[in-house]
C-alpha cells in the first residue's frame, strides 16, 4: 500500500487514512454525476468530478470525508465538485459526525466561471455552518498542488489543519504573484522562496496549521484523529481570538519581506536551518518558537 501522502491519489489517501474496509462512497463514479460545464466546453470530465466523498471511520470513530483529486484539473472546484463537499458538510450536521477534508486544490475552477465561484463560497459557508452546529471540521494539506485560492480561505475556516512540509497553503498562487508583480518581487521558480512563503513549516510557525507531519499516511491519520479529539466549538470568543491573533501577526511581522525575517523575529537564531531540519527536530524547537 502506498505510504507517501504526497504521491497518492484521492482514493489512495482515503484508503490509507480510514480504517480498513470502512469507507462507503456517496455519489460514486457509477452515478456519473459529471460536470455539465466541462462537457459543454468539450473538455474531459471525471466520473466523480475530481472529489471523492463518503463516510468511514478513523481509529474507530465514524466520520464523513471528502478527498480532492489534485490530478484532475489541479483539484479546482466546480459546481458538482463543490456541491459534493457541501453535501457531506450538511449531512455532518444532520448526523452529528466530524468531517475530514483532504484538500488539494488551486481554488475556483475558472472554466465554470460563476458556478465555480459560487461553489467555493458555498463550501466556506457550509464549513462555518457545520462548525456552528458543533461539528468538528479538520483538514489535511500535503499534495503537490497545494491549497490555494478560495480553498485556501475555506480551509482556514476549519477547526484545524494538518500539513506536511511539502504542503503549501496560500491564496494567490506563486505564478500568479510573479505574473502580477514581476519576478523581482516574487520569483515563482525559486522554490525555496515559495516554500518559505506558503510551505508547511512556515505556516506552522505562523500558527496557520495545527501541526506538521512527515509525508506518511500513518502520520496524517494520527494527526487528523488527534485534531478531531481536540476540536473546540465555534463561538464569538474563538472568532474574536482569531482576529486578535491576526492583528498581532500584522504588528509583529508586517515589515518582514521574507519568511526568514519572520522566523528570526520569532527567535530562530539561524533561520536557514528551518527548511533543512527533519520534522521531529524542527518540531522540538518550533513548538517553542512559533506565533501561537
Amino acid at each position: 500500500m502506498i505510504r507517501s501522502y504526497y504521491e497518492a491519489t484521492a482514493r489512495e489517501r482515503i484508503d490509507a487514512i480510514l480504517d480498513a474496509r470502512s469507507f462507503r462512497e456517496l455519489m460514486p463514479p457509477t452515478e456519473r454525476v459529471v460536470s455539465p460545464h466541462l462537457q459543454a466546453l468539450s473538455l474531459p470530465v471525471a466520473f466523480d468530478d475530481g472529489v471523492v466523498v463518503g463516510r468511514g471511520a478513523i481509529e474507530g470513530r465514524e466520520v464523513l470525508i471528502a478527498a480532492q483529486e489534485g490530478g484532475f484539473m489541479g483539484g479546482a472546484v466546480g459546481e458538482v465538485h463543490g456541491a459534493k463537499i457541501v453535501g457531506v458538510l450538511q449531512r455532518a450536521i444532520r448526523e452529528h459526525l466530524p468531517v475530514v477534508l483532504l484538500v488539494e486544490s488551486g481554488g475556483v475552477r475558472l472554466q465554470e466561471a460563476n458556478a465555480g465561484l459560487i461553489a467555493v463560497s458555498e463550501v466556506m459557508r457550509a464549513i462555518l455552518a457545520a462548525r456552528s452546529a458543533g461539528v468538528p471540521v479538520v483538514a489535511a494539506i500535503g499534495g503537490q498542488y497545494g491549497c490555494f485560492g478560495g480553498m485556501g480561505i475555506a480551509v482556514s475556516c476549519s477547526n484545524a489543519i494538518v500539513m506536511s512540509e511539502e504542503g503549501r497553503l496560500g491564496l494567490s498562487g506563486p505564478e500568479v504573484i510573479e505574473t502580477a508583480h514581476g519576478v523581482e518581487e516574487f520569483d515563482s521558480h525559486d522554490r525555496a522562496l515559495v516554500w518559505r512563503t506558503v510551505g508547511g513549516k512556515h505556516r506552522y510557525l505562523l500558527g496557520d496549521c495545527m501541526t506538521i507531519v512527515d509525508d506518511e499516511m500513518v502520520e496524517f491519520r494520527g494527526a487528523l484523529a488527534a485534531s478531531i479529539e481536540a476540536a473546540g466549538p465555534l463561538t464569538l470568543e474563538t472568532v474574536e481570538a482569531e482576529h486578535a491573533k491576526l492583528s498581532r501577526r500584522l504588528e509583529r511581522f508586517g515589515d518582514a519581506t521574507d519568511g526568514e525575517d519572520v522566523w528570526r523575529a520569532l527567535g530562530w537564531a539561524d533561520p536557514a536551518v528551518v527548511p533543512l531540519a527533519d520534522t521531529d527536530v524542527f518540531l522540538t524547537q518550533a513548538r517553542l518558537l512559533r506565533a501561537a
Binding site: 457509477t30 474531459p44 490530478g71
Partner: protein
Amino acid sequence: MEHLHYRFTGGRKTRAAESRIVGVVASGNLEVLIEPAPLQGACTVDIDTAANGFGAVWEAVVADFFSRHPLADVRISINDNGATPAIVALRLDQAVEELAAAVPPEPRA
C-alpha cells in the same frame, strides 16, 4: 472530444459484484470505470477522449485487451485525457485486477 464504442462477445462472466475505478483524468492519463452489468453476455467499452482521430489505435488496443481478458457482462467506461496506448493498456489491466478483487468470497460449505 470523441466518443468511441466497442462491443465484444464470447467472453467469460466475472463473479465480481461491485464496480471499480482506476486512474485519474490528468493530462496524459485516463480513468477506467469497470462495472458488472447485464449485457446478454457482451463486454462493452465506451471511451470519451480528448485526443481526436486515434480511432484505429483505440480499436487495436481494446481488441488486444479483450483477447487478454475476455470478459462477459462487463461494462467499461473511460474518460481519457490523451494517454498513450501503453498507459491505456496498463490501466485496463489494472481495472480487471481490481475487479477480480471485488469478487465476494466463496460461501462456506
